[in-house]
Every structure is written in C-alpha cells, then in structure tokens.
Symmetry: D2
Subunit: 346 residues, 4 copies
Amino acid sequence: MYRFECDYSETCHPAILERLSDTNFYQTPGYGEDEFCAAAAAQIREACSLQENSCSVHFMIGGTQTNLTVIASILRPYQGVISADSGHINAHETGAVEATGHKVLTVPTKNGKLTAQDIQSIHDAYIGDATKDHIVQPAMVYLSWPTETGLLYTKAELTEISNICHTFGWPLYLDGARLGYGLMSPACDLTLSEIARLCDVFYIGGTKQGAMLGEAVVFSNISLSYGFRSMMKNRGGMLAKGRIIGLQFQTLFQDNLYFRIAKQADQYAMVIRDAFANRGCAFLYPSQTNQQFPILPDSWLKILEQNFAFSFWQRVDAQHCAVRFCTSWATQDNAVQQLVKTIERL
Amino acid sequence: MYRFECDYSETCHPAILERLSDTNFYQTPGYGEDEFCAAAAAQIREACSLQENSCSVHFMIGGTQTNLTVIASILRPYQGVISADSGHINAHETGAVEATGHKVLTVPTKNGKLTAQDIQSIHDAYIGDATKDHIVQPAMVYLSWPTETGLLYTKAELTEISNICHTFGWPLYLDGARLGYGLMSPACDLTLSEIARLCDVFYIGGTKQGAMLGEAVVFSNISLSYGFRSMMKNRGGMLAKGRIIGLQFQTLFQDNLYFRIAKQADQYAMVIRDAFANRGCAFLYPSQTNQQFPILPDSWLKILEQNFAFSFWQRVDAQHCAVRFCTSWATQDNAVQQLVKTIERL
Amino acid sequence: MYRFECDYSETCHPAILERLSDTNFYQTPGYGEDEFCAAAAAQIREACSLQENSCSVHFMIGGTQTNLTVIASILRPYQGVISADSGHINAHETGAVEATGHKVLTVPTKNGKLTAQDIQSIHDAYIGDATKDHIVQPAMVYLSWPTETGLLYTKAELTEISNICHTFGWPLYLDGARLGYGLMSPACDLTLSEIARLCDVFYIGGTKQGAMLGEAVVFSNISLSYGFRSMMKNRGGMLAKGRIIGLQFQTLFQDNLYFRIAKQADQYAMVIRDAFANRGCAFLYPSQTNQQFPILPDSWLKILEQNFAFSFWQRVDAQHCAVRFCTSWATQDNAVQQLVKTIERL
Amino acid sequence: MYRFECDYSETCHPAILERLSDTNFYQTPGYGEDEFCAAAAAQIREACSLQENSCSVHFMIGGTQTNLTVIASILRPYQGVISADSGHINAHETGAVEATGHKVLTVPTKNGKLTAQDIQSIHDAYIGDATKDHIVQPAMVYLSWPTETGLLYTKAELTEISNICHTFGWPLYLDGARLGYGLMSPACDLTLSEIARLCDVFYIGGTKQGAMLGEAVVFSNISLSYGFRSMMKNRGGMLAKGRIIGLQFQTLFQDNLYFRIAKQADQYAMVIRDAFANRGCAFLYPSQTNQQFPILPDSWLKILEQNFAFSFWQRVDAQHCAVRFCTSWATQDNAVQQLVKTIERL
C-alpha cells in the first residue's frame, strides 16, 4: 500500500533525527529559551527579510493550537475573525476558535479563496448596520496559503487583501501549514519576504513539511505579539522541551532544506496531476501544489484503492467522486511511478 | 556546567531516537489512530492492570495541555476543581484552567499535600452554605503524585482521599508528570495498578521521564472519557503525528525502561540528599524522589553556582535559601560525583 | 410619531405597575426564592399542563442572557447548537453563544424556518464524516417560535422536528421571545401544552409581551435543569430582586392577560397587513403574527416616515424595500387607524 | 417578622414607581439609547464632576453581570484581577469571573480591605519571578467600597492604592454596590467626585439602594470603555428596555434622593449599632455603614429570631456567633424601634 492520503504519514526528515541524536544530551533551558530556538528564529528572520527588533518568532506545536492561540491573543471578546467557510479554523478544528470565545465570520467561496471584495462587504455590512452593538465586530482576517483546496493567492490578490485589511485596521493572519509547498509551486509569484511584509502574523508549517511536529509563528507586526509567551502557556501550547521544535526548524532552514523538499513534493504532485489529466480527468480545483483533487469514476476508485491510500473528498455526480492525493517531503519516487503506471492502465 | 535545575534539560532516552530512526518512513494514519499508539496503550493498560473495555488511554503533548483538557472535559461550567494552592494548575500554568472557565478551589497546605480532611471541609462548607447557588460548586479533586514538593501520598492517604471523593461523586485526577520517580522512590508504598484503581483519571508523565514530549492520559473510569478525542482537538491537543508520542511510550514501557531510568534518577537524588545531609543541611521538604530541596547558606550557593545549575526556591532566613536540585533519566554519574565532591568540600 | 419599529418601545402593562405598587414594601427573600416567583411558576406549569416534579421553571432577565445560559448549560465544550442562519443567537447577539465557547451550526433557510430534513442532514454529515473528532459535534437544536420572520412552525412541523431531535438524543430548545403572539395567531395550530411536550426547554417571553423585563425558562425535560440556578448566577443572570420578574409573570398569567394582549396585537397586525395587501403590496414573509414585512416602493417610505417609525429590513430591488411594522401589547387603536388611513392614501 | 437580613428585600423607592407610571406609554428606542438613560447619564456625570467627552456611563442590570463584563472587557486572556479573598467576585459570584477566562488573584485580608502594600507585593512577586510566562499576569485591581465587611477605604488609603495602580498601569475598578451607604457614612472622608477621579471605572449601585434593579457603570477613564456596548450585549447584559434603568437613576439622582435615602439607612444602622454596643457587644468589623456585624451569644440569637430576620455570618466561639443586620432605603422606623427595644431587654 502506497499512502497518498495526507502529508503527515511519516515521522520526519532524516536530517532532523540525525541532529537530534547529535545533540541529545546537550543541556539547555526549557520552554523555548534555548539556543536551538534562538538560532532557528534568526534563520527564519533572515529568510523573511525581517529585523530582530521589529518582529517576533515563536515555536508552537501544531496548527490548531497555533490558530486558536494567535486568534484569541489578538481579538477582544466581542470581535470575530473572517474566514472562508472552508477555512481550517471553521471546518476542521472542532470549534477551537469558538472555544476561545470568538465567532468565525464565514464567507462562502467557490474555491476556498477569500477576496478583498468579501472583506469589504463584511466591513460595509457591519458599518452600515444600525444595530452594530448586536452583531459580532469583524476584527481580523484569516486565510490559508495554500488554501485547503491547494490554491494560492497571487501577489496581486494578497496585496489587495493586505491593503484592505490595513485600511480597516484588521490584522491579516496567514495559516502557512503548507507554506513551503506554496512557495515552490509553479503557480507561485510570491516570496516568503513578500508574505512576511503583506501579513501581520503568519506561521511557517513544520508538521506537514518535514518536521515531526511544530509550527513557527512569525509576527511581522511585532506590536501584536505583546504577551504572546504568556498566551502560549495559558493555552497549553508552550513545550517544556521547546528545543526540539527549534532544532527542527534550524535543520529545515539550513541549506534551504525546507524549500528543496517542498519543491520535490510539488514536482511529484505535478506528475500525478499530469497522469490523471492525460486520462481526461477533470479536477475539482486547479491546484499546483502538493494536494491534487482529480474527479474520478467510481470504477477507477475501486482499482486504485487496492494499492493506494488517498482521501475521499466529495461526491460529484452519480458516477464520479473527487478525491485527494497528497505528496510530501517523504514521497518516494517508486510510489509515484507505481501510481502513474496504474493510472495509465485504468 | 552540570545542570540539575530541572528534569527536562536534554532531549530523550537514546532508545527512543533509535526507534524513531527505525520506523521513520513507515506510514501510518494520523491523529493517534496508529499502531504505535495502539501498542503503547496496550502496554500501559497491562502495566496498570486495566482491561481494554473499562478504560481509555490517550496520548497528549504536555502537562498544562493535559491538565486543562481533562479538567474542562469533566466539569460543568459552574463547577471548580480542588487543588493544593501550590498545585501546578494553580501556581504555574498562567491561568490555563481559568481560561477554560473554571475556578481552582485552593487549599493552603504546609507541604503541598492535600488531605481527605481538606476535601471534607470544602464539601461541608459548600453543603452548609445557605447561598450555595452563589458559590462555585466543588466537583473534582486534583493532586500531583509526587507533589511539586517531591513528596508522595502514601497508600493510606491516597485511599482515604479516593474514598472521600467517591463518597461525594467527585472524580479524582492525579497529575503524574513525575509518576515514575514516585513509583521508584524508597518512600513509595503504592503500585501503578493501585494508583489506577484509586483514581478516576491520571496521566503518566513522559516529558520529564525520558520522552521528548508526551503524557499518557489514563481514564480508569471510562465513563469520564466520553468525547475526549473531540475535546483534545477542541483545545489544540491532538497531534497530527500522534504516532511519535505512541512510539515513545511504547519504548518506555518495554522491558520496564520507564521504571529503570526513574529508579536510577531517584538513587542519584538520594546520593545528593545524603551529601547535603552529611554536611548538616536541613531540607525544606523530606523528599525521597528526584527533586531535593536543601536549605543552604548563601555563601555555599555562590560556590555551587560556579559549576552547577540548580533552581532558587525560596529565601528561608537572612543567611539561607532553599534551592532545588533535580535528577532525571539523563543524569550522568560523573556529574553527581562532581557535585558530591563539591558538597563535601564546602 | 407613532412607533411600530419594535415591540419594546413602552414600559409594561399597567396591571404590572399596579401590582408593583401594591406589594412594594412587602419583604421577601432574594434571588427568585420568593412567593411571587413560586406563584408565577405554578401558574406557568398549569398553563403548560406540566407537573411540579417533572419540570423546572426559572425567571431570567432577557433573551440573550437566557439563550446563552440555557445553551451553555446543556452543551459539552466540543458540542454546538443547530440554528437557522437567521436565528437570533446567530445573527443578533454579538457572539454571545460563542463567548460561552460553543459554535452555532447554521443552516441556510429561505424564510427562517428549520426543517427536520435540515437536522437530519447535519446529523448524517456528522455521522458520515470519517474525521468526526475534527468537527463540532451537533448536540442540540435551537429555533424561534415565532421566527424572526414572524412565521410559525405548524404542529406537524414541530412534531417532526421534536421526533428527530429525540431520535438523536438532542435537546430541542424553543426561543419564545414572542410566544404569545404565536399562540394567538390565526395561523397557529399548536397549544402551549403541546409546545411544552414537544420541546425539552423553552422560554416564555415577557420583555416583548407586556413585561418591563423578564423571560420564563421552562425545562419540561427536568433532567436538563440540574445546576441551572448555579449556571444563572455564573453568567450574571440571577436577579437579586427576582421577585419583580415573578410578579410580572404572575400578573400576566392571571386571567389570561398574557394571551389577551397578544391576541389584540396580532389583530392589529392583521389590520395593517390587510391595508398593505389591499394596495397590492407583496410581503417578504407570509407572517400572521405581530411582525409584518411588506415590500414597499421607496416613494411610499418617504411618506410613511413622516408620521410612523418602522424598521428597514432589506432592499428588494432598485425601487423597493422590505420593512417591518410591529404591533405589541401597547399598540393603540388610533395609531393603527392613522396608519391604515395613510396607507389607503399612498 | 421584621427583615434586616439584606438590603434588597423590597421592590423600590415609591418615586420610581410613580415615574414609571407617568411615562409608561411614552415610546422610546430600545437598548439604552433613550432619553431617560441620556438624562440619567448627564446627572451622574454632574454628580461625579466628569465631562461628557472624557467619561462613559452605561446602565447594567446587576452586580455580578457588571463585574464580569467590566473585568472581561479590560483584561487580556492571560491576565488576572487582584481582589481581597473576601471580595464579592471571589467569594459570592459562582465563578463568574473565571467563566470569562480570568483568574482572581486573591489577597488574604483580616477585614476585607486591600492595601497598597498588598498590590505592591503582588507586583513585586510577579516582576521578580524568573518564570513569569508561567504565572498569571496581574493587570487590574478590584475593590468594593464599602467592602463586604461594611468598611470604607479612607481618602488616604484609596489615593495610595490609586497611585500604585497607575504606577503599574493597572486600572482600578471600584464595586459600588453600596456606594451611597458609604458616601453618607459618618466614617466617610471621600466625595463621589474624588472616587471618580481616583478610580478608572466604578459602578454606582442601584439594586441595593432604592432601585428595582440596575447599576450605573462609570468609566472615568474613557479609553477603557472602547467597545463596551458590544461587550454588554455579548454577555447578555444589555436590556431591551434599558429605559427602565435610566429612569430609575434619573429619579434617584434628582434632588439628591439617592443620598438622602442612603443617609437615613446609615443612621438607622448606627442606632442598631449603638443598641448592641450599649449591651456590651463586640463587633466583627467596625462598620459605620448600613451593614452591622455584632457578635452575639447564641441564647440571644434564639430570642431575636422570633421577630427579626438577619444573616448568620460566622461562628466566633462555642457560645457566640457574628451575625449581620442590614438597613436600607426601605427600613421602617418602627422596625428599628422594635429591634432596639428587643435588644435592650435581651
């Protein structure tokens, strides 16, 4: 069985295990105040073209934890966060944002992407409401890059969103669980530094991109990070051995490892995409990142399931389903070859 | 510099790194539904003499996360949890329990240990209060074993507490961040199975006892665990690669590794204790676990600080402070020898 | 200016002020444990055909307070409440439910009414989701009767919803802010006793139906009311002088006052409805309760605004808006006559 | 039976009922945006010597609601509020502050009064803690004036507390549930304007001082009031018919009614105090406000209970209890005379 069902089926890049072994008995202070974290933060700042005194980098455990902590840290109690209704915080986190007391203000989208116009409309509806004390005040914007649908906001789109957010004084928060797969996509016209500049806070995903666990939160707007370490502890998100996350990012951001492994995963995804396209398949979303959503006849699914794991996404019609194939830093060449061969023979 | 300041200064037991390497590219489902977690749960059930259908085992990330999730999962909104005022949830978790909406009902103690009488008194005060709708309803009991002061509840004490909790219908929750160090202490007269039987829910600490991260929550009262996986996700405590925690507990509970390394740490602690005692030092608490709290003249501190890291605890008088020395699974023999030699020459 | 903009523009029915005067210096215990509250609860139980030992009646302050307290009292932390997206808890309470930690699981509706099929679909989607630990668990159903759109669930509809809720074990909660206006509507085929039987918990609105303030929460499923008084205090919803709410309901439920004044308000609403219908107006919703939603040309609005206050609801097309006219227990005959005359001359 | 058990046993001052009758059918907008509230706010500002553009006045329902809303509105999630351990928010509100996510940081006191030194100590402990990310950050100060023990902070004491709060940047919040009884006490050396100047936010109690319900929140530091109306709605504390609270404060602040009725209640309390003192009784607290805490032999209690209601406070020794007698705006002269006669004959 070759597993393409998600991008977190294996443990981590071998370079991380190697470095863990090398440093295992080296003693450090706890809670992220160690030299591994310090070094990783410096590497991340450099990769983002950020200065030490104007940003703040924190290492957290996982995506849901990061999202709920960042959002609860920024909003006042009667404020909400704008998200596409397919956004991870709305659809797949068991109400974690609501558990912090905040409403997710959702926008229906066709493909998982917010637009500046969506944000403008929410703003105008709020401002125009005569009873605005009775409705949740929109106060920050959440988006994923890539989205849950594998798509990217272009530089023009993200700039427009950033501008409108800043016009309204609403922090823009970018969930980068798969940030590397986005940056290495052939469809990408943004750099990490541009993302850092356009957003107020974002996270660089580790869990799905080579690390065992861990996400690096970057406040490029440092004024939003006041008290963030207290907030991390308050929500159970401060790891005693914070060093193990620092060390992983240190490893991933050395010699561009983070980007090299993401690029290879994207390339494998394109190979799989082409294989399905060559057989005439349509796709639910035109993704050029590591997640592919081909629409397949039910009869094909039965055959593919024999040797490959993938995710059911949604039924499209009586004979077809959309499914998801993911590649990752760990995808093996022979697994892709086997999959392609199988597709060719369907 | 030899570090005795805490029990989480290093990464993890080498056997864990070895097994991580061996299984690195092995593919599993995410979120703790993998065979490593299943195997570890089985080993833990066996060590606790619990049956699969009458208990529930979950792998979480860290202590604060575990405490807040378990407590918020059990209490109704107007209920509180009883704790010694020195209890970790009250003193060192940045209000994480309160952030879930619940009051910590504290009891002042001399040495960090609750008594059955304390619990009885809180019960009686509540029952006897004519305005009980106006006060927080006590509804569960939290204690640490060992306590933050390194002490153990005896079998008689824990039995008495368990009995009174069950009389009142209040779940008893035991924080076992250092459970192994307790079980291997010369002062211990309890077994893991007895703890499992006396408590409704407890956790077996990994972070401070050989793991990189991770705590194993055991509901020996399975009826309290309904919906707990949803609760874990809701609080950001469900790791995508849950397997890495499962694998660590699998390793630690194989061939009694967990207990062997704890025993050695306790023995080193006793050596350090004896060294101070031989010099006539008093101790803040009569701990026989891996944390030692000698009361030392300020002049000695200056000398010790040159080569050893340890924690300041509290000032005792104008010339003396209580400090904490911790051993752990990672403590090296030569570090202890150096420390003992230094103490002898003070 | 005659005000038809809402049903809470005046203070209260004169019979209440009279009884307040009569009893002003009579001394009672506080916090709802007085004889006015006891008497009112008995009258309400009788009106609902409920027995004292199988239900629980509580007097609260206002609708939002009542909704948040009831919902937070019933749900566990990872659970959510199903509501029409136009439901008051979702649209007009500034995130009060989310502030208690819970997601409102919304259903888009054309007219503000949930259907049993909506509830079935949410259930099936949840049960069918392979990753249900990652989504909010639906666990109770909220609906308004009448709805915010002035409509009523019929006996058949409410029975079907009640049945499906009970099949799933989900409490059914009915927001009766305008319950009397519903019960007295010509479109109503339900009795108060039937509502009590079909729902698990509901409230009988006072604020909009003759009281200064106050809503009577009725748990016809008494098992859900455990600890509710503690919950009321915990959320700031327990009034020191609870007697003033008890007294108001006592007055309203004596000699059917509650129903008589609601009936008259509905009749006035029908007169206004007919006046608009006679001029060929369409209505946004076919309401037969005290709220009417005619769709009017903009030119008419200008004229009406000169002497009448009413609420803007939504723009329908370039020349027309839907607006809301409310009647209430306080509506004066001459105000209605003036309005009708004005409509006839538009 | 004459009731001295609390100060909320009757409905309200007759002048309020009269004005309610006079204005009953007068139509106003809802939610506190009416002319009664506007007029009352103006009267309160004048009484406090505050300018319209530098303060913000809001009318809320009750004390617990007010406390939880003000505190949750000011604190960030990892911050706590300092209170005497006998403070109402800590002891008698069923965990309402914790339900908003915040820890109450308690200070043991002998008589219910915080000192500037207490606040300094909490500050110093926090600042001096090397692990301050792990403890709740103190960030505001709550005190009652009068305290739950009937005592007053003097001008010197409150000034010292105010100064230290402002040094640390911590808002000072004064719970004035019985503010009038304090201001009219022979022990009072503060004016309302001075209180307004020394505090950042406080409330003027209505419920216990002549109103049916209602408390007037005054932000003399207007910068803390941003979004407060949204916050009120978010916590269920915004009354649809806000006018009824506005009207009550309008009545109470006309012709000094609020102060005149408080003064009389205090005078009656002094009469009762003197009667007990003349019999040689000691008092638990040296209160000169409307609550008196005589320490009485058990045998006396039995006699007093026959005709008088009062509150048990605490057992003092095997033969004596402290009890509480309250006077209020509603206390009748003959009730006091009967009580005094009874005391004289004990």
